[in-house]
């Protein structure tokens, strides 16, 4: 199945709806060791992205690029900037693929997004950040079947697996004893926003 700008629009709309439910939960996760703004920031960023006329864009790449720009205009926060980075990488991949992304391409695409986020964030897998979620999702999609449900499961499993580990980036690394046992707010965000997403095949 080929991904369309409508699929992308639907994905953003679902994530936008989900974040409205989960805002406070995400803020609370961030407040434990960070500044407590993950949920409110993501809510604002997704609202801005949801305002983009994604479905009306000329192609997947243009649509994703417009989403990246909307996110970047809205915030300069870490996670918001990484969301924009991921969207921009999707746009690049779509452009390289002549605006045709198949379900089977998604493993490779998410892997490229993961690399770009790691390089922008100067962090690596194992640091307990969104990078570990993206890495897990990329691996699950590559192994197949490449479905949103599979991505969601991978994000949840990564969240569960990393919960017991200490965080290694940002201010949270100062408190390994406190971060151990707690969810990373960015990883939690990916799991929650995918969970509420459309169950259709990506």
């Amino acid at each position: 199945m080929t991904m369309t700008t409508h699929d992308l629009a639907g994905f953003v709309a679902q994530a936008n709806e989900a974040v409205q439910q989960e805002e406070q939960r995400l803020n609370a996760a961030d407040a434990k060791l960070g500044d407590g703004d993950t949920g409110s920031m993501l809510r604002r960023v997704l609202a801005a992205m949801a305002k983009v006329d994604v479905a009306g864009a000329a192609g997947l790449s243009e649509a994703a690029m417009a989403l990246a720009q909307a996110a970047m205009k809205e915030t300069g926060s870490s996670l918001g900037t990484l969301v924009a980075t991921a969207a921009m990488t999707f746009a690049k991949e779509a452009k390289a693929a002549g605006n045709r992304i198949e379900a089977d391409d998604m493993g490779r695409v998410v892997s490229a997004m993961c690399d770009a986020v790691a390089s922008r964030g100067r962090a690596a897998t194992g640091d307990k950040t969104v990078i570990d979620s993206l890495d897990a999702i990329a691996r699950a999609l590559s192994a197949g079947p490449a479905t949103l449900a599979g991505a969601e499961r991978a994000a949840r499993d990564a969240l569960d697996a990393f919960r017991a580990l200490p965080c290694k980036v940002g201010r949270a690394r100062m408190f390994p004893e406190k971060s151990t046992g707690a969810d990373d707010p960015g990883m939690l965000a990916i799991a929650l926003l995918l969970a509420q997403g459309p169950r259709a095949e990506a």
Partner: protein, 333 residues
């Protein structure tokens, strides 16, 4: 934590409009509309200094755009990094043809966006160097000092780098001076009360009526320890001891002490803290040079204070004492 504002989502735009109206020597522009620079364009041939960061910390960051300090500033939302567009706007505004030093606090979002902007600047043949303010000893152990956040100490880095640029040093030389200033500077803060971000309907953290938190981040991130509010001298000692332990200035050294208010703490109380700092420095045979006491880096209406020390050598002392002026700070010729 009541606020004098109109639309919370227009907080930054309205603040900037007021800032440039009150300070005609500053101009607001860039493609992002989120870049404050000197109205008189950057001197040709001088290395430019660009900075940036989230709003809610005035006078930081925007307030240090001035002669002998910073040339341009990228402005983010309250407590969020500046977007990449405003970062490139600031780099362009600061550019006088001799390259631009990007000097800002070590926060994830700020770094990512300035990194993107530096990549864009490279495509426009603007040479960029980056130096990060990372003076907060409470934000990482000494072994990972490069991961530390920047707090009030950045003001001293602006001063050193700004003077080096004003002197006519080249980009590498200005960056070197900024790095040297950074290596000589440490800070630590104590928070007594939270603040409220304009779009939020609650304070950003909770703290007991008789508690203080040592080393708390300027956005309310947890610090080293929370304890019953102590006497000012005890608080000053605790902060000073931690800074001296890292910097170990010997007898006869010269240091710049900066006692900074986080927002709601009266100037009177900053002077009470400084009294003790000066006393302790004298006991240790250390001479305070150009001491600074006031609100230089705030967190909205947070109550509390920070202490920074910069250990001087002859080069840094000359840079710190060189003339400079901006809306909120001035060193006389």
């Amino acid at each position: 934590m009541k606020k004098l504002l109109n639309d919370p989502s227009a907080y930054v735009e309205e603040m900037l409009a007021g800032l440039v109206a009150a300070h005609p020597e500053l101009t607001l522009g860039g493609e992002s509309g989120r870049c404050v620079a000197l109205a008189e364009p950057a001197r040709s041939g001088k290395v430019g200094i660009a900075t940036g960061g989230g709003s809610g910390h005035l006078p930081l960051f925007t307030g240090y755009v001035g002669q002998g300090l910073v040339d341009a500033c990228a402005i983010g939302n309250v407590f969020e990094g500046p977007g990449a567009q405003s970062c490139i706007d600031a780099i362009r505004a600061a550019n006088g043809g001799a390259g631009v030093l990007c000097l800002y606090g070590n926060y994830g979002g700020d770094r990512m966006n300035f990194d993107m902007a530096c990549e864009m600047a490279g495509m426009e043949d603007i040479a960029c160097e980056t130096v990060l303010g990372a003076d907060d000893v409470a934000s990482a152990v000494p072994e990972s000092a490069e991961k530390r956040r920047g707090v009030a100490g950045i003001v001293l880095l602006y001063k050193a780098a700004g003077a080096a640029a004003e002197e006519g040093r080249d980009l590498a030389g200005v960056a070197k001076a900024a790095r040297k200033a950074g290596a000589a500077t440490r800070s630590i803060g104590v928070a007594l009360s939270p603040c409220r971000v304009p779009t939020a309907d609650a304070p950003n953290f909770e703290i007991g009526a008789d508690e203080m938190e040592m080393g708390m981040g300027i956005h309310g991130e947890p610090g080293i320890w929370r304890a019953p509010l102590a006497a000012a001298d005890t608080v000053a000692d605790e902060m000073l001891d931690r800074l001296l332990a890292e910097l170990s200035p010997g007898r006869g050294s010269r240091v710049v002490p900066l006692v900074n208010g986080l927002g709601a703490t009266p100037l009177e109380e900053l002077f009470i803290l400084y009294r003790r700092v000066a006393e302790r420095l004298a006991d240790a045979g250390i001479t305070p040079v150009s001491p600074l006491v006031g609100n230089f880096v705030t967190s909205m209406e947070m109550a509390g204070a920070s202490l920074s020390l910069m250990v001087l050598d002859d080069e840094l002392e000359a840079l710190i004492k060189a003339p400079a002026s901006c809306p909120f700070w001035r060193v006389a010729a």
